[in-house]
């Protein structure tokens, strides 16, 4: 690569330094701790950034100004909020199942952290290139449903229980069409590994190479992803106007903050997955065999490509949230079972035909 200061270079340098100064075992343990710390710091920064972004985007879309008092242009608003949440008392209701009540926010964070494992942030910068990357992501994502159900049940609150039930029904149904959309793309790449999927987009992103079925799959994936992250217009699980706050009604202080953070982490993750599957992850914008053009695109660092794509998709999801009104539960299930699932299955068939006949570019 041309750029000498890349994430890959930093990674190799750190690895070499550790292995040179300490033994291989110690270096391995040190690397594990380092990665853990990095993920936690990344989560914190991401949470602060995304909450701020959401508040600003929502404000401008509603012709407001948004936070603009704390720090320059309001940049420190979310840090101040976090500070406030940290200082608050973490209440546990008297009738709650205390063990499960306190476990749920951590379980949801653990699930979010585990999903981070196979995501490639830059060229050769990935925690673990597991050979079933995409399947791994969708399997770990199903753990967070349990955490939500656990939170709703153990709060001993009818709003929380209703919210958890809705959330469960919603996530289980939308997992199907999200999964089918992912399978549609996996058929093109013929590998589940994130690294392989990105490398197969060397001569163009799949959304362009896979044309019609890829675009349909992308739309379905984005809808299902919005539903799976419990965000408006699918935020029935925490519908403020009817269920106060849904499954996290009884949570306060830092435990509430963990749920809040997990929501935004999940948004980042689904957008990162969409960026990897449809827009080539960290792969720069390449067009076929235009060597000159591709070469110019390579000058932009791969991490910027990845984060840029991901944040564009996050913006899209925020745009959904601040435009559409909330669905009713029957409309929600109708949308999934009568529209998204049949369409995505038909789309899968279409993609099969295209892959077999090699009609993709």
């Amino acid at each position: 690569m041309l750029n000498t200061i890349s994430f890959e270079a930093i990674k190799t340098a750190v690895q070499q330094w550790l292995n040179m100064h300490w033994g291989p075992h110690l270096a391995f343990i040190a690397e594990c701790i380092l990665i853990g710390l990095l993920v936690i710091v990344f989560f914190a920064v991401l949470g602060l950034l995304l909450v701020f972004m959401e508040r600003k985007v929502s404000a401008v879309m509603q012709i407001r100004l948004g936070p603009n008092r704390v720090g320059p242009k309001g940049w420190l608003q979310t840090s101040a909020d976090t500070l406030k949440l940290m200082l608050k008392e973490g209440l546990t209701p008297d009738g709650a199942d205390k063990f499960l009540f306190n476990l749920a926010p951590f379980l949801i964070m653990i699930a979010a952290m585990l999903i981070m494992v196979p995501i490639a942030f830059a060229r050769n910068f990935q925690i673990w290139d597991i050979n079933i990357g995409v399947l791994y992501i969708s399997s770990i994502a199903s753990i967070s449903v349990i955490a939500i159900l656990m939170a709703g049940w153990s709060s001993n609150n009818k709003y929380a229980l209703l919210g958890a039930m809705r959330s469960g029904a919603q996530i289980i149904s939308y997992e199907l069409s999200a999964g089918v959309a992912v399978i549609t793309m996996v058929m093109l790449t013929q590998s589940l590994s994130i690294q392989d999927i990105i490398l197969s987009q060397q001569n163009g992103w799949w959304i362009f190479k896979g044309h019609i079925p890829a675009i349909i799959a992308f739309i379905i994936f984005m809808i299902a992803a919005t539903a799976e992250t419990n965000r408006a217009p699918f935020d029935l699980a925490e519908a403020e106007s009817e269920l106060t706050a849904g499954f996290h009604t009884e949570y306060s202080g830092m435990k509430f903050a963990l749920f809040f953070l997990a929501e935004y982490i999940n948004v980042f993750i689904v957008c990162a997955v969409a960026a990897i599957l449809f827009f080539g992850g960290w792969m720069p914008f390449h067009i076929g065999n235009w060597e000159g053009f591709n070469h110019i695109m390579d000058y932009i660092p791969s991490s910027i490509w990845f984060l840029g794509k991901t944040f564009c998709l996050i913006f899209l999801i925020m745009w959904f949230r601040w435009t559409f009104p909330r669905l009713r539960i029957d409309q929600l299930l109708n949308l999934e079972w009568k529209y998204l699932l049949p369409i995505s299955l038909a789309n899968l068939l279409l993609m099969t035909i295209i892959v077999v006949l090699k009609w993709y570019l």
């Binding site: 075992h25 199942d97 063990f99 499960l100 597991i130 050979n131 079933i132 399947l135 791994y136 969708s138 399997s139 770990i140 199903s142 753990i143 449903v145 349990i146 159900l149 656990m150 049940w153 153990s154 001993n156 229980l161 958890a164 039930m165 469960g168 289980i172 997992e175 013929q190 590998s191 589940l192």
Partner: protein
């Protein structure tokens, strides 16, 4: 190092399995069952069979435990503690456990764990071809299972379907 991790996972599975049986809140029992199943998935990860591990999580954690929890939610009195088991029940359950241990121990004692040198190819491609090939694979059981699932789905739709004539009588 490897065996330390194995014993940690095994201990985790055993403890959470024991708690799943002894928990007196039915919801907690379901959660402990969930941890047991996740521990087993961790064991698969430890054995480097990632596909099986991911499928274990998808099916058992994401599917079956969620269904169990849902059915717990829909039952009444799910929040109450279950009654303490009577002495008679405990005796029989201990006997059943002892029988199970003896049965498995006898099987292990007869066949033992045979180490195999061949490496397992667990790539999704290999599993897929094996599953669908007619000559050397599992095409027939695969199709039979799909038929069974289809029958189950038709049955569930039939149960859930509203009978219009009955509704009129109501």
């Amino acid at each position: 190092m490897d065996s330390i991790i194995f014993y940690c996972i095994a201990l985790f599975i055993l403890i959470s399995g024991l708690l799943a049986v002894t928990a007196r809140h039915i919801f907690r029992a379901a959660i402990w069952l969930l941890f047991t199943l996740m521990g087993i998935a961790a064991l698969y990860f430890w054995m480097n069979v990632f596909f099986v591990a991911a499928v274990q999580i998808i099916i058992y954690v994401g599917g079956i435990v969620v269904l169990i929890i849902f059915s717990i939610f829909l039952t009444q009195q799910a929040g109450q503690k279950m009654a303490v088991t009577s002495a008679k029940q405990s005796v029989f359950s201990v006997a059943a456990v002892l029988f199970g241990i003896a049965f498995i121990a006898s099987i292990i004692g007869r066949f033992y764990f045979v180490g195999r040198s061949e490496t397992l190819n667990d790539s999704v491609n290999a599993i897929g071809t094996q599953l669908m090939s007619f000559t050397n694979g599992y095409a027939l059981p695969f199709e039979l299972v799909s038929l069974l699932l289809l029958a189950a789905m038709v049955g569930s739709i039939l149960i859930a379907m509203k009978h219009k004539t009955e509704n009129k009588n109501n």
